[in-house]
């Protein structure tokens, strides 16, 4: 698959759904979107080909409904707001925190929606390695969003056919790669998992309870997780310093970490 198309699809499938986290957990965002019912479309021109089902545009629609969000990876007929890019690369540049200007349709008609959308997009930049929030709420959001995003991105990296990922998942029996971050200051811990079986993958939220994890990445705290995510410490140092403990196969943990680094490199 074309690299830029793959990156765009990873944003659609893995990054956009993560907007649900600030919608639910960030009081300012929750409040701003609680009564909004609207559809926002992201689209970009592209070369028609097999990766785009012969279409000259790719895109995704975000359906907001009173605080809830559904992401659909297709163009819709009458979005309230459209952010259209001249190329997939330009769209990816903006979504990965760079500079690119989209053509905006519906902004004049729905200026409030545009402002809210841009604010929400800014929340996505929390996941960038260069973003080092001090505010505890934002630090929590960064970790939760990052873990949710990376597990979904890993699953879709496989679904989208990356050869190395496909090869790695192909022969694995039913296995759970679990991530948990202890957050004693809150009622619930942050948890997400990647399930693999015979080339199939699934990302999930929370702790998978029907099987024991094959590899369990246990982050000691939000701060411990941030040290690793922000690369303040290398993964091995993170283990040595107690930021993260790994239960299970060190070899498979290292391989998964390699794929995570590749995806992070693509999306930032």
């Amino acid at each position: 698959m074309d690299r830029e198309i793959m990156i765009a699809k990873l944003f659609f499938r893995a990054a956009f759904p993560v907007m649900k986290v600030p919608l639910a957990d960030d009081p300012a965002i929750t409040n701003a979107w609680k009564d909004v019912k609207a559809t926002v479309q992201f689209s970009a021109d592209c070369e028609p080909g097999p990766d785009t089902d012969g279409q000259s545009r790719i895109g995704a629609c975000l359906h907001f409904d009173n605080g809830s969000l559904e992401v659909v990876e297709e163009l819709c007929e009458s979005p309230d707001l459209t952010l259209h890019f001249g190329s997939v690369k330009a769209m990816n540049t903006l979504l990965s925190g760079g500079m690119a200007l989209p053509r905006i349709r519906g902004g004049l008609k729905h200026p409030g929606l545009l402002v809210k959308m841009l604010t929400l997009l800014m929340r996505l930049t929390l996941m960038l390695p260069t973003n080092r929030p001090k505010d505890p709420v934002k630090r929590y959001l960064k970790v939760k969003m990052s873990i949710y995003m990376i597990t979904t991105a890993l699953s879709n990296y496989n679904r989208l056919g990356d050869p190395k990922m496909r090869e790695w998942t192909a022969n694995q029996p039913d296995r759970i790669y679990q991530f948990t971050i202890a957050t004693p200051e809150r009622d619930d811990n942050i948890a997400a998992y990647l399930r693999i079986r015979g080339g199939r993958t699934k990302s999930g939220r929370g702790v998978y309870t029907r099987r024991r994890p094959f590899v369990h990445f246990r982050f000691s705290s939000v701060d411990g997780a941030l040290k690793v995510l922000l690369k303040e410490v290398e993964f091995v140092q993170g283990v040595e310093s107690g930021c993260v403990a790994i239960d299970g196969s060190p070899e498979y943990a290292a391989k998964l970490n390699d794929f995570m680094a590749v995806i992070q490199g693509m999306m930032t």
Partner: protein, 322 residues
């Protein structure tokens, strides 16, 4: 700290109090972590070179003159290359040589069958006078090393490669040679495990409770010989179903020892042995092998369900949760 490293440190500590302790290696001091002792007491450490038979012979001689030798090498070499010397030089004379065998079972993974060791428990158990211990983790290794030091006869302690996750939080759980530890309560079935499978068995027991509502007891049978007959028979009477789990052939190891006790008692129970089913292990990462041979938590769960004839519907939902 790994079990090997803990062993090296405990041995160093013990040597401060007991001048009879000496350490020996067959050119694997670093790999078996007895190098920690070598650094601590270099005048009491002896590297015999790549010559495991000599390692055991020299250790026997040292024991004969009143020393307490701790001989360290890989399990495959300790139990098979030096088999005759362990039997004749050490066990036959009932000498207090302590053999610390690292990289037991399939923990050497990709190094292959030559370096796997899935027969040692059967071999060592068959030698008269020998005590055989398979600690669950590093902390239990520390307890085992201390416990065997003053045994009048030989002992074989089998540990892994060093990446095994910890099981115990501290050393104060009542370790006693020859006495199993109940590490998870249960009444429907008992899993009797040793070594790295203890943690996996407990994880399995937790899942079986959560998912299937089964009450599974887990015994950490750290001492394979002398085996805790009382704990086995209590489990037979109270749970009526026994599954043994070991990183070893099912022939002659923990499963064999437990089967002997049950058969000799005349009591009947449902019984199954998890381990290598009369075969050599494949070559691969240890965790792949544990999963393949159903020695990880998920594999143990499968085997418990099979023994109890519990049906389980696979999860076929492959849609990403977003």
């Amino acid at each position: 700290m790994t079990a090997r490293e803990i062993y090296g440190r405990v041995l160093s500590d013990l040597s401060d109090k007991d001048p009879r302790i000496v350490g020996l290696s067959a050119d694997l001091a670093k790999s078996t972590s007895i190098a920690i002792f070598e650094k601590h007491a270099p005048e009491r450490f002896f590297n015999v070179g790549i010559a495991e038979q000599n390692l055991m012979g020299v250790a026997a001689g040292m024991a004969k003159v009143g020393l307490i030798p701790f001989a360290s090498t890989f399990a495959a070499f300790a139990s098979m290359r030096a088999c005759e010397q362990v039997r004749t030089d050490i066990c036959y004379q009932n000498l207090p040589v302590k053999i610390i065998a690292t990289h037991g079972g399939m923990s050497f993974g990709a190094a292959g069958t030559t370096h796997h060791c899935t027969e040692d428990l059967a071999i060592m158990r068959s030698f008269a006078n020998m005590t055989v211990v398979v600690p669950a983790d590093g902390i239990e290794t520390a307890n085992a090393v201390r416990a065997v030091k003053d045994l009048p006869g030989p002992a074989y302690i089998r540990i892994g490669r060093g990446f095994e996750p910890p099981f115990y939080e501290n050393e104060n759980y009542g370790f006693q040679l020859g006495k199993a530890v109940e590490v998870h309560p249960g009444t429907d079935l008992t899993i009797i495990a040793c070594g790295i499978t203890v943690l996996q068995a407990v994880e399995a027991a937790k899942s079986l409770k959560e998912i299937d509502g089964l009450s599974v007891r887990v015994l950490n049978m750290h001492t394979i010989k002398p085996i805790d007959r009382e704990a086995i028979m209590k489990a037979v009477v109270e749970t009526r179903r026994i599954l043994t789990v070991e990183e070893h052939s099912v022939l002659g190891g923990l499963g064999g020892a437990v089967a002997d006790v049950i058969a000799e008692s005349g009591k009947g129970c449902a019984f199954s042995k998890a381990g290598l089913q009369d075969e050599y292990a494949l070559v691969g990462y240890p965790e792949d092998l544990y999963a393949h041979y159903k020695l990880d938590a998920n594999g143990i769960i499968e085997q418990v369900r099979a023994l109890l004839k519990v049906e389980f519907e696979e999860d076929e939902d492959w849609n990403d949760e977003v």
